[in-house]
Each structure stands twice: as C-alpha cells, then as structure tokens.
C-alpha cells in the first residue's frame, strides 16, 4: 500500500471535478481575518543542525525540573529493558495486527499483559487495555450499568477530578445519574458512601490511594454494595499495589486505573494506557479486546482474540463499548516493566516509594505553618496545608527548578491552601531536603 501524496496532476484533476480553481479556494469559507498570515516557521535546515536543536531542547527547560507532581501520572524509573524490547520492530508497528496466523508474538504479549493485570489487581479477567485511566473509569461505570440494569452511579469525590469529569461526560447523554459524595477531609467518607447506595445504584466508584494520597480499605464498602445488589469499582495506582491491599482482596468487582506508571514516560501527557479487570462471571460485559489462550488442530498452544461477540464489529450498536482498539504498545511497556520487576521487585519498589514519602512527609510537616491533612495512612502522596495560596507557592518554586506538587484549589474550592506532594523512588534525599528548604523560603520570605 502506498502512502504517496497526490501529484500536482492529480490535484488538478480533482479541482476540475469539483469546480475549484485552486487548493487555496477550498479555504475561502474561512473569513480572511481568522486565517493565519504566517506560521512563523524558520527556514529549512540540515538534519545535523536539526538534531542539535532538538537535543538542546530535550536537555533544557522541562526536563530539568525536579517533579514532586503526581495526581495520576508518576515519574518512575523505567528499566532499559522496556525501551529495548518494546522498540523491537516486531512490536513497534503503527497498528496492532490481530490475525492469529501471523501475529502470535503480539497476541501472546497481550495475553501476558492481561495475566499481569489480573495478578496486580487480584481479579480474574482483564482486557487487552483501554485508552487511559479516565476512560477506564468511565468504561467501568458503563459496565456496571449493563450488568445490574440499574441507572445510578455513586462516585467518591476523592477520585481524580479529571477522571470524574470523564465519567460525567460519558454518562451525560445516558439516563444514568451520578451522585458525587464529598470526602471527609482528605479521606473517603465511607459512611456517607454506604448511605448513598440505593436500590437504583449500579456501582460505587472509589480510588485507592485517593486523589489526596490517602489509602483506605474498602472491604466493608464492597460488602455493603453487594448487599444492595450494587458493584464496587476501585480505580487504583498500580505501583501502590506492591504494598496496598488489591481491589480483588477488598471484594471489588471491577478494578481500573491509569497504566502510565508501569514503564511509560511522562511525555507531556500521553499516550498512556488504561487497564480494566473484573471477576470471571462479568467477562462478557468487559469492553474492548480480549486475548485468549487455545490450542491449534495439532494441539500446540496459541493465542487468539476471544469473546468477540461483545465487540462493535459483531454486535454493532449493542456492543459493550465503542472502543474497538487498545493501547498495545503502551500496554506492552507496562508488561515488560512488570515482568522486569517481578513480584519481589514490585514490593521493593512500593516500599521505596512509601519510605521516601514518609521521610518527606515528616520533614515538610515540621516546617513552620505547614501541616499534613491526611488523617490516616498514605502511600507516596500526601496533602499539605500551607500558610499561603498553594498555586502561588508552586509558581514561585517552579522558577527554582522544582515542581512542588498539585495545588488543589482548582479542583476543590476551599482547598486553595492545599497541595498534593508526590515522592517517587526517583526523588533523592538531597532533592527532598532541597524542596523543604525552598518551601520554607517561599512561605516565610
């Protein structure tokens, strides 16, 4: 298949057919005032010169800033094996081939990915990935509506605000209602969540650790939801699962999350991948592609897409979801990351995050006028109350080369003085100490 642009001759022919004088004429409906006079592009340059400029851009500005920002996307170490293996030509294609006769490598990788997600979340069945964390939460909500035949979602407001927006966006044009339950301080309000479940509730959605960094055990909430015929959806941070009780162990029916922290670079916001896993009995309601293991006619193990009757190319408008692809390459990176670390590695990684964050938490809370707002346990993120507006402090510290955290005011009115700080394994003691010093200076000088 050729990907050649149209020749001048072909362009002329097409213009004649549609009766336009020139390509420029096609833009005539756009008012002159709205059309760009110039894109201010520099003159052409050689590959060598261009590489020099790109290299310079890659090593200055953004990448020099020390990030203490999390809020859903995390700066973790990525083992060299991830780039090396995921970059192999067999995997690194522009599109994901699914014919079992010629795609066993891709299919097996996705099957192994699904197995890794099941082990991480403590659930029985995973699909081959979704687009990102936000759409994964929304897909889980839709899945719960389908399974229960009910039309209301109880959504903990300490779930990532961006993900909540996606959920509300997805449900806005359906008859389903979303009841958002405000947190109690920085913790999920378990009593209020339980009290909000009615006979019309399809699912309760919570996040662990939540957006404020608080870790909770939702076992009792799962039991309460089940008692009322509702499901529990837990959106989780995969790296935390090395230390924190898994959604499966808590009795959750669906686990979802943003997969970026598994071997994917920050990359200014994407692409990342979402994951979703559930109990075996709900597998036919899972959205997206699922790879299964089977045997060929000679009894040899092989991999194929399975349960495709759920999908759009078979079921059309009755498909479980309009998702008809996945994020294979990003999911593959997630798999290689998980496999490179192994079970012990995951526990070690999580412990390192926890320990460093505990050190930082102790140090920052000792600063004059600063206090930790989380009442209970945290993982690698925590919320600080500052004596000054947080956004202002963050801006000032950016000039000093440190991204201090996520100011909460924009998401939670009334929390203008609060900031969520994240400390991953990549942050050194020197960097943490430096942030403490910079914070003190910004707050009191």
């Amino acid at each position: 298949m050729g990907y050649c642009p149209n020749t001048p001759e072909e362009i002329r022919e097409m213009l004649v057919v549609i009766g336009a004088g020139s390509v420029e004429d096609l833009f005539s409906p756009i008012p002159e005032a709205l059309r760009a006079k110039s894109f201010e592009l520099p003159a052409g340059m050689s590959e060598f010169e261009l590489m020099g400029i790109m290299r310079e851009k890659a090593t200055t500005g953004g990448s020099e800033i020390v990030p203490f920002i999390g809020g859903g996307i995390y700066d973790h170490i990525i083992p060299a094996a991830v780039d090396h293996l995921a970059g192999r030509a067999e995997f690194y294609t522009a599109y994901t081939p699914y014919q079992p006769e010629c795609s066993q490598g891709t299919l097996q990788a996705l099957y192994e990915y699904q197995s890794a997600i099941c082990r991480l979340t403590g659930l029985e069945a995973s699909n081959a990935s979704l687009y990102d964390g936000g759409t994964a939460v929304a897909e889980a909500a839709l899945m719960a509506l389908r399974i229960t035949g009910r039309n209301a979602i109880v959504l903990d407001a300490s779930v990532n605000p961006l993900h909540r927006e996606v959920v509300c966006g997805y449900l806005a044009s359906l008859s389903a209602g979303v009841c958002q339950v405000p947190p109690a301080g920085c913790e999920s309000d378990l009593e209020l969540l339980m009290g909000s479940i009615t006979s019309e509730t399809a699912a309760v959605i919570v996040q662990n650790p939540n957006f404020f960094g608080s870790v909770a055990d939702f076992t009792a909430l799962a039991a309460k939801a089940h008692e009322q015929g509702a499901l529990l959806i837990v959106t989780c941070y995969p790296v935390a699962l090395g230390l924190v009780k898994s959604p499966g162990e808590m009795g959750a029916d669906i686990a979802v999350g943003e997969g970026q922290s598994l071997g994917n670079t920050l990359s200014f916001g994407g692409p990342y991948f979402g994951f979703i896993a559930t109990r075996k009995r709900f597998i036919r309601n899972l959205p997206g592609r699922i790879v299964g293991e089977t045997v060929d006619k000679e009894g040899r193990c092989g991999y194929v897409l399975t349960l495709q009757a759920r999908e759009q190319h078979i079921k059309r408008h009755k498909a479980t979801s309009n998702i008809c692809s996945n994020q294979s390459l990003c999911a593959l990176r997630g798999l290689i990351f998980a496999a490179a670390l192994g079970k012990q590695g995951f526990e070690d990684l999580a412990t390192l995050n926890f320990d460093k964050a505990q050190y930082a938490k102790g140090l920052f809370s000792a600063l004059k006028g600063v206090s930790v707002l989380n009442a209970g346990a945290t993982f690698n993120e925590f919320t600080l109350a500052l004596p000054k507006p947080a956004a202002q402090v963050v801006t000032r510290l950016l000039d000093a080369g440190v991204a201090a955290g996520v100011p909460l005011g924009g998401y939670y009115p009334g929390l203008e003085h609060a900031i969520v700080v994240t400390v991953t394994e990549k942050r050194t003691k020197a960097e943490i100490d430096q942030l403490a010093g910079l914070l003190e200076e910004a707050l009191w000088n």
Partner: protein
C-alpha cells in the same frame, strides 16, 4: 398445550398465565454450535417482539425477541454451564426463560407448528 412460532424463529408455549420461550430447532441448527446464551434479568418486563435475550454461536451473535409480552419469572440456569442444550434440545430442555402475564390475544400474530413448517419451506 401448543407451541407458537415467530418469524424470527422463537417459540412460545403458553400454560395458563405462564409462557415458556425458546428458539426453534431450525434456528439452533442454522446458528451452529451455540457457545453462550445471555439470559434475561429476572423481573425484566418485555413487550411482544422486544429483545429478550441474546445468543452466541461459532457463527453469529443474535438477539432473541420475545414472542409475547410479559415479565421474566424464571430463566434456564442450566444454559449458563451448558449452552449446547439449545443445540441438543431447542424446543424442550433448551428453553430460555418463562414469562408471566402473557396476553393470549398476542398469539394470533404468531404461527402454529403447521404454519411455521410452511414458513420454513418458503425460506428454503
């Protein structure tokens, strides 16, 4: 107790206020090996010819439409583990669900066994 058929190849047997629903032997044969029956939710209320359940085979995924109106009061749980029952015994052990509150007048828009056999001939 006689059996009535729809043009979409469902059957219904009405016994008093209770109707048993399934798909015809012809439909089961045409679908090939059935791999999954998506049973309706208990308590679901359907109107005649509304989507009642779903069925998947190695060849296709299809909807099962309700031959009569009613409320689902029983589903054939055996099909969860053994969907092949529909292939083996489509018009008996492979029944899908039972409905209550069926309106007998609706049967007049269905075919009896003889008319259905004639209808199938016309499809050949």
């Amino acid at each position: 107790m006689s059996m009535y058929f729809t043009k979409e190849h469902e059957w219904v047997k009405v016994d008093g206020a209770q109707a048993t629903v399934g798909i015809s032997e012809h439909a089961a044969h045409e679908l090939g090996d059935i791999t999954f029956v998506e049973l309706p939710q208990m308590g679901k209320i359907v109107k005649q010819f509304d989507t009642l359940a779903g069925i998947e085979s190695v060849k296709a995924a299809s909807d099962i439409y309700s031959p009569v109106s009613g409320k689902v009061i029983q589903v054939n749980d055996k099909l969860e583990e053994a969907p092949e029952l529909v292939n083996e015994s489509a018009e008996d052990l492979g029944w899908i669900c039972k409905l209550e509150g069926a309106d007998l007048a609706e049967l007049s828009s269905l075919m009896d066994a003889a008319a259905y056999a004639q209808y199938l001939k016309g499809l050949e």
